[in-house]
Symmetry: C2
């Protein structure tokens, strides 16, 4: 992702008025590829379209009644066509600590309230698409205190990550999760030898020397 292209977006909110408002405010700057008003429809839509970013309402009907958290858990580990993870930006009327914690723990990369301006929302969407963490100022201090400074690290990740090709990123994700070469090969329908080639490139580009270091690296950057 870079700021020149339009992020592909899925919009999840049970209020039609809110969805309409977001569409109007963001307008042509994004590509809205899906909308949903409940948990089930949201999971289906995100799985089908694999967007760059999901704008996710925290309080949502359906599922197990835990709102946006159910959606996050139903969409674990999805990736875009480019191999980047599908990222979630929580959009809520509430700034209660409990809501924030639950949705961040479930994997959201940001949290903003519905009082945000259109231009600020666009900025937030773009930053999340780029892998940054985004929080409205009054939440930032709280969240970063609780979970350690993530934001700073994430920025530098994509510099190194950008040097990898799409295919290399796919291979890297599987290797870091402990897959064997043979398993990666079967998963991606390529030969073991090709997997070796990609792994070698990844290790060289990231200046690592073994799959263990790769795992540690990915773990540290929270890419798993």
């Amino acid at each position: 992702m870079n700021t020149a292209t339009r992020p592909r977006l899925v919009l999840v909110d049970d209020h039609t008025m809110v969805r309409s408002g977001v569409r109007t405010e963001l307008g042509d700057a994004v590509d809205i590829v899906g909308e949903a008003g409940d948990v089930e429809a949201a999971i289906a839509s995100v799985t089908a379209t694999r967007p760059d970013v999901v704008l996710l309402d925290v309080h949502l009907p359906g599922g197990d009644g835990r709102g946006g958290v159910d959606v996050l858990e139903g969409c674990r580990s999805l990736t875009t066509a480019a191999g980047a993870p599908v990222r979630f930006l929580a959009l809520s009327v509430s700034d209660a600590a409990d809501d924030v914690i639950a949705v961040i723990r479930a994997g959201a990369r940001g949290y903003v309230t519905k009082s945000i301006s259109g231009t600020d929302l666009l900025t937030a969407v773009r930053r999340v698409a780029d892998g940054d963490a985004v929080f409205s100022p009054r939440l930032a201090g709280f969240v970063l205190d609780a979970f350690g400074a993530v934001a700073g690290e994430v920025a530098e990740v994509d510099e190194e990550l950008d040097r990898l090709s799409v295919r290399e990123r796919e291979v890297m994700r599987l290797i870091a999760r402990g897959y064997q070469y043979r398993e990666v090969a079967k998963e991606l329908f390529i030969s073991v030898k090709t997997v070796e080639t990609h792994v070698s490139s990844v290790l060289r580009k990231l200046q690592l020397s073994s799959r263990h270091e790769l795992t540690a690296w990915a773990l540290h950057r929270r890419l798993l």
Copy 2:
């Protein structure tokens, strides 16, 4: 650890009166093998005695001025003679969220305030020694919400862990962290062949088949 034996304890608090009070209240039920009143002395004492539990004051002079957190970071990954990790129970006058979060993130297994009764403190020490997580009731909800339920899982760990010998546990910890056989051998002053033997035993006893699964296992049980 089991409740029949007396847990070996190190007491860290800058107030002599508090240490005296703890000694009196816990009396013969524990074996106090060290005491300290500042960060440096605490690290030295814990490193030297490798107790089952460290009772740690959160606000402590010395170090980098971050109190108990400095002690925790100075004592990373220490183990007792039996191969279990040295566990820390934070003891504080404060129940401010910031204090709790900082010390838990740094690795403490529990947090109680100084208003606790002697019998309750003894229970807390024993539970921490057994690997449980312990928090005073009004903190429990907050902490578990933020960091996920840890307490339940830990109990079942030691059943499987108990089937390993002391030496096997030491080897396992290093392997799970990504050490190579050669590095483990050097670290423990034994030959590579002996490391192989121990690793084989560990994998067989835990019914795992590779170091990757071991890492995942240890990660899941939060032994790293």
